[in-house]
Subunit: 332 residues, 3 copies
């Protein structure tokens, strides 16, 4: 079926990428918790190579030409869905968008049947966001397609964790020995979970910090430091990751007022001046200016918030390439 | 304008496909009722060739490169819209999505004006789903673009009929002499109509079976057997096509309860055991598990439900290629 | 990174287009008001070349391959969004769609932060429609990406103005000395503003005509003739551009009834017979048949309404190509 001219149209990956590293054998990306440090570093290395090669800024390699990806997003998303779509297209793949409205789910179809139908249309990669934790895992057991978790309720959001780690690595070189604080709504944050598992695997010291209603003491059981006073831990931190207060996931307000929250936990210019000189300010976005971070800090020299967004594209390209290559080479 | 390198990037159809068969002269696909048996077989042959050549599983041929298709969907759809989108992209075409919300229709524009505007943007193929029977026929008279009916109210859904026939043909080789029962909501089903016309043209014996409120005696007038008792006809059937109860199209409930409907018409394991050994269980989907079919049957060895979805991609690729080729060769 | 085969797959622009004209240095298209006559003619020339070369009817040139464009539409749109999407794809670019629903804006993110996030994903061109005048200008000051105004409230809609001028030029050759009347809802029409600035720069005499509640005398201050009686000015007009009554932007009805409006301002067959023989009837669409124009006129020989839609594709391709080329050559 293939012919010489068709081959010529599909530039292969350049030598700097070549074969996928032997450590990568997975055809799904479901969470960070089950990845090894070597697997995490593999994704970060490939993402960095894509970025250095300019692949994130133009369609230079098309190793996934003819591969179809489906965005199955059952929760609102702007940046993540767009980031995955652009990542897939940058690699030459086709992308189809699904949403819960306008779909067969409103006609009584089960979620698994919807997914199996999409798979039957020869969709190789299903990118799923769902309010129910474990949905991507369930799908991965039912489908032959590859499954990427784009956020499952408060459980995990692995590509967010990976892009956060890539951002820190770019600025600090190595995560070992760094102190990284996740500040804010730990209880409802899949980003927090993906960061906690990943940062610990890569050797960082992790602090979770926020009001007691949003930060459980149980995290101490897995070697995470729990703090409720940001000002006390601030001088020790190399990185602050400021999580959004997810009002939409909270049945009751977990603190008296947004103003009080901001007083205690918002990253302000005054707090920056009490922190390490080279502290990195991160936020998974979307940010609520004036709640978890002031404009002075969000737009200031310590902020790497837009680097994170840019790295999201690289990490998603790396993920798509790795899991597709593992499928093609029948590693799993 | 074209140059050698551009040519090289557009692999032509391989010899196994070559020119479109002389029998195909249409630039629209509006219904099955007006197709000849030869025309139906032409679509099925081309679809099978696409499938055998691996074209449904990757972008191998791009005969429609530079062709723009528009999905004009004025009713909810997941699988059909996605299937058409993937089919078009697999052939190299561009696809734009339309929906009734967010469109000029809400500003007072007529349906035909909307369509003419899309056509004026050099859209060659308009894929339309609409609640009003005859909408695609109306469009085909107003537009120079090709029109594909993706479902017009309870009237027809020709690509669904074609994919159902392709699925039977793959499993039985020939439809002549087979007994195919369409079970359930015949009254509101465009899938039923497209199947009835097509199956009869290809020589099958067709039974429509369901409660009298959903299955009219008038079908006897066109040579279709009408039955109200599934258990009586079951032993004679080679194929059962289980239509979804379309609650959203029914002003009043046409039977006392879903439970009673399922008792009389659901395909269950017990019924499978009273059927022919090689009976094929089909359903156009989305399926309501426990209503028209039990999970045991839907996921069992007789079910070809996911084959249908996969064949939908092949049939839609064949349709897009045939009508575009007929346009290009000025057959009509 | 690029290799010979990849080069071969990206046909360069043919000699007839070549380098972008020296007059074009802008990397945004925000309005017509700030363009010179030479700049307007540059866009129209390039658009005409694209059209003559058949580029609007197929993907012949792909100078924007690997470029990512984002549609940021915060108001309903069918034709404009689709026209931009097709224009971008015809040139080989990738397009991602944004909408206000389902986006981070509902999570409290600011508009500029949303845009900066999209930019951080290496989106080179942001096409924005927003109800607030000046939004595209604001964006252009905050982003490194190119910004195209696809309509900002009642302010401007520059590609609409350009496509209107291209349509007149195709039928009359030169705009100098022509009398062009904009009829209807001038007060709420961004199309009117973009036409007024552009037509005057190209040497046309412009009349704005409609009920006093919708047509202000202040336009006389910039050299535009103001009229309230269509029948009085009709015999002098070479072109009529019939603006839609934008009911959705009007808090109170600006005239007693739609019937009365139609009586005074609708373009009817009777009025056509009192107009110049070669009068051009234009409408930016979507049209309300029976309000600003009767079907006899909309579908009659003087109507160039669908030419406008087709020219919209050409003008948007030209705009995308010019601003992207200006970016690439660091002209600004």
């Amino acid at each position: 079926m293939s012919d010489a001219s068709s081959e010529a149209c599909t530039p292969k990956l350049p030598p700097l990428l070549g074969e996928i590293p032997p450590v990568w054998t997975r055809r799904h990306l479901l969470d960070i918790e089950s990845l090894s440090a070597d697997e995490i570093n593999c994704v970060l290395d490939v993402a960095q190579q894509f970025k250095d090669a300019g692949a994130t800024a133009g369609r230079r390699f098309t190793p996934l030409q003819g591969i179809a990806c489906a965005n199955l997003f059952f929760e609102n998303s702007t940046r993540t869905r767009t980031s995955f779509s652009l990542a897939a297209r940058r690699l030459g793949a086709d992308v189809v968008d699904f949403s819960s409205s306008g779909s067969s789910l409103s006609k009584g179809e089960t979620f698994i049947d919807t997914a199996k139908n999409i798979e039957a249309m020869h969709v190789e990669v299903v990118i799923v966001r769902h309010a129910t934790p474990g949905t991507p895992h369930l799908l991965s057991q039912s489908l032959q397609s590859s499954v990427i978790n784009a956020g499952d309720g408060p459980h995990e959001h692995p590509t967010q964790g990976l892009l956060d780690m890539l951002t820190i690595r770019q600025h600090r070189g190595d995560l070992r020995g760094l102190t990284v604080a996740l500040v804010g709504d730990i209880a409802h944050s899949r980003t927090a979970r993906s960061n906690i598992w990943g940062l610990k695997k890569l050797g960082a010291h992790v602090i979770v910090c926020g009001p007691p209603t949003l930060v459980s003491r149980r995290w101490e059981g897995v070697g995470v430091e729990v703090a409720h006073n940001l000002d006390e831990i601030l001088p020790r931190c190399d990185v602050l990751n400021l999580l959004r207060i997810q009002f939409e996931r909270q049945a009751t307000r977990p603190f008296p007022s947004v103003r009080e929250y901001a007083l205690l936990y918002a990253m302000t210019g005054a707090r920056i001046r009490r922190a390490k000189d080279n502290i990195l300010i991160m936020a998974p976005g979307p940010i609520n200016r004036g709640v978890e971070v002031t404009p002075e800090v969000a737009d200031g020299p310590h902020s790497v918030i837009l680097d994170q967004v840019s790295n999201g594209l690289a990490v998603r390209m790396a993920t798509l390439w790795l899991i597709s290559s593992a499928r093609a080479s029948h590693r799993t």
